[in-house]
């Protein structure tokens, strides 16, 4: 599980970040290519599977990254700084949408589970769909640590850094998140064990 988190390290190092800060376009393209799937994944899971909304928020995040990367001083890991940006952008956008959308539309959790029924021939995809739907039903407080752990593969310390809480709080929220997932999807026990 740790492999995915460390995957970015050999590609995006200090030199790449400095080049981005100096306005180097190729360096920024490299940064974008490295993190686009991770940023997009968190956005999709945060917006109930709404890919258009996720794409819009991902663009906002990268635009903000480009205009504020000069403020990154290396006081925390770059990934911590980036994911803080991602979490804040997703939370802000959710707040905005909640203000304008009727109750329930901001979390169409079943969208992913309902689409592309032909894919459900495969048990693994079915499990992934069910897990995605269940994750989207969790409260953001429990959902974000799970996304940062399983999509971004961050350590507890890194998650604590992104969310601005203690490692103990991360452990406790993950515990509750895991229990909630297990209770919602207990019927899949035989499929995953």
């Amino acid at each position: 599980m740790e492999q995915r988190a460390r995957m970015a390290e050999p590609i995006v190092d200090e030199r790449v970040i400095e080049a981005c800060q100096a306005g180097d376009r190729e360096a920024f393209r490299l940064l974008f290519e490295t993190y686009k799937d991770r940023v997009f994944s968190i956005a999709v899971y945060s917006f109930g599977g709404d890919q258009a909304a996720a794409s819009d928020v991902s663009q906002q995040i990268f635009l903000k990254l480009m205009t504020t990367i000069g403020q990154f001083r290396g006081e925390s890991a770059f990934t911590t700084w980036l994911y803080r940006l991602v979490v804040n952008a997703c939370t802000d956008e959710q707040r905005k949408r909640r203000r304008f959308l009727p109750f329930g539309e901001s979390t169409p959790m079943s969208k992913l589970a309902q689409r592309r029924p032909q894919e459900k021939r495969y048990a693994k995809l079915e499990i992934a769909d069910s897990v995605q739907a269940a994750i989207q039903e969790l409260r953001p407080k429990l959902r974000l640590p799970i996304l940062l752990k399983y999509v971004e593969d961050l350590s507890y310390e890194e998650i604590a850094g992104v969310l601005g809480c203690s490692k103990g709080t991360v452990a406790s929220r993950l515990n509750r998140g895991h229990q909630a997932l297990a209770r919602k999807l207990v019927h899949l026990r035989n499929e995953v064990e």
Binding site: G70, K124, A171
Partner: protein
């Protein structure tokens, strides 16, 4: 042993976020505490489900949309740069796609090359110690110590033996002429494949964390010591020396306690477990019953098994209840009831209909008869855990 419950630490334990000494204490607590073990099973299920959460691919259009958005933003705002840093000085109009494309491709190729090398080096592994001869990992001989990475084979010839440290949860000894592969190692699952040969495992971890795949089934450790061998035909033989092991192929499962043995055949799955001190005629008849499909001989063999069974052999008879039907099941029930009458709440009709609750109730009543491990076996069980603790402390010094 931890007297305090460990439920708050269970996710961190599953993710390997806890120091090894405390991790061992949690494992020991889980073995003895039903309440925490039930919570652990739930959290482990949550972890396994969450591991199915895929990383999604951003749409190809994202970069182009971003360019367009930035160009529009540039046009509208005319972003100004500062002398010290030029954070927003991107101008995609000036960008020459052909040149930049080549540069990006080169950077990506170099990056992914480094990543490939890194991921090869950082694959999880187990420590292997040579006990005799010249065991091999892949094509390389081990001198005194070696590392078995996920996906690699460890092989011994007729003169060599090796010992594997299964993370921090146990040890496996590999006998001569044996071939094993490390399939998976993570806090929620450690898995080895035994292609042929013989291995002995001693595991000090909660149930169902350590698995061995064989051509004829999977052995799941329920704690704590056993030997497993696989012959050239792929047939397996499990012998448990302490605790319990579950042997499974698809829907067919045998629960094997200390002092018992169970054979398994490719395409058939685990046979019926039996105690080593059962009579020769009982064991031979059971082997024929399990693995010789002719119906005529089955009846004869079943007769022999029933006639030669003792109260302790209810282990075998309990498993047979689900493997025979009709009148044969009634005969097995009658023999079991004669040897060890069922507890209150367990009826003949219910058992003949394979009522799960009743079967479980009867099994629980019978388990003390099956679990009479010898004093030596108990000492071995306690010793295994003690050795684990000592090794951990030695490793820290």
């Amino acid at each position: 042993m931890f007297s305090k419950h460990v439920t708050k630490e269970l996710s961190a334990y599953c993710h390997g976020e806890i120091a090894s000494e405390q991790s061992r204490e949690i494992a020991e607590h889980l073995i003895g505490c039903n309440q925490c073990r039930a919570q652990f099973a739930e959290i482990k299920l949550g972890v396994k489900l969450a591991e199915h959460l895929p990383q999604l691919s951003a749409p190809d259009s994202l970069w182009h949309d971003l360019q367009a958005r930035l160009a529009a933003q540039e046009k509208q705002q005319k972003i100004e740069t500062t002398p010290a840093r030029k954070p927003a000085a991107f101008s995609f109009k000036a960008w020459q796609p052909s040149f930049a494309g080549v540069a990006v491709m080169l950077l990506l190729v170099a990056g992914f090359g480094a990543l490939w090398l890194y991921s090869r080096q950082s694959r999880p592994f187990w420590e292997v110690a040579r006990l005799n001869g010249a065991p091999r990992i892949g094509s390389a001989r081990i001198n005194d110590k070696g590392r078995l990475a996920v996906g690699q084979w460890l092989e011994t010839d007729s003169d060599s033996r090796a010992q594997i440290d299964v993370g921090s949860i146990g040890q496996v000894e590999i006998d001569p002429n044996t071939r094993v592969r490390l399939v998976e190692t993570k806090p929620t699952e450690h898995r080895l494949e035994l292609a042929h040969g013989k291995m002995s495992a001693r595991i000090w971890a909660p149930p169902r964390l350590f698995f061995v795949d064989t051509p004829a089934g999977v052995a799941a450790d329920l704690g704590c010591a056993y030997t497993l061998e696989v012959d050239d035909r792929g047939a397996g033989l499990l012998h448990v020396t302490s605790g319990w092991v579950a042997l499974q192929l698809q829907e067919r499962e045998s629960m094997v306690p200390a002092g018992a043995t169970c054979a398994t055949w490719p395409g058939v799955g685990p046979g019926t477990p039996y105690f080593d001190d059962a009579s020769e005629i009982f064991r031979q008849a059971l082997a024929s019953f399990d693995f010789e499909p002719q119906a005529e001989s089955k009846i004869t063999n079943l007769d022999l098994v029933l006639m030669n069974s003792r109260p302790r052999d209810t282990l075998t008879l309990w498993h047979l209840l689900g493997r025979v039907a009709g009148n044969d099941r009634a005969r097995v029930y009658d023999r079991m009831a004669a040897l060890a009458p069922p507890p209150d709440g367990v009826t003949r009709e219910g058992v003949l209909q394979l009522n799960e609750q009743m079967l479980q109730l009867w099994k629980e009543q019978l388990e003390p008869t099956w679990n009479n491990e010898s004093r030596l076996q108990k000492v071995v069980g306690i010793g295994i855990r003690a050795v684990g603790r000592v090794r951990e402390r030695m490793g820290k010094r």
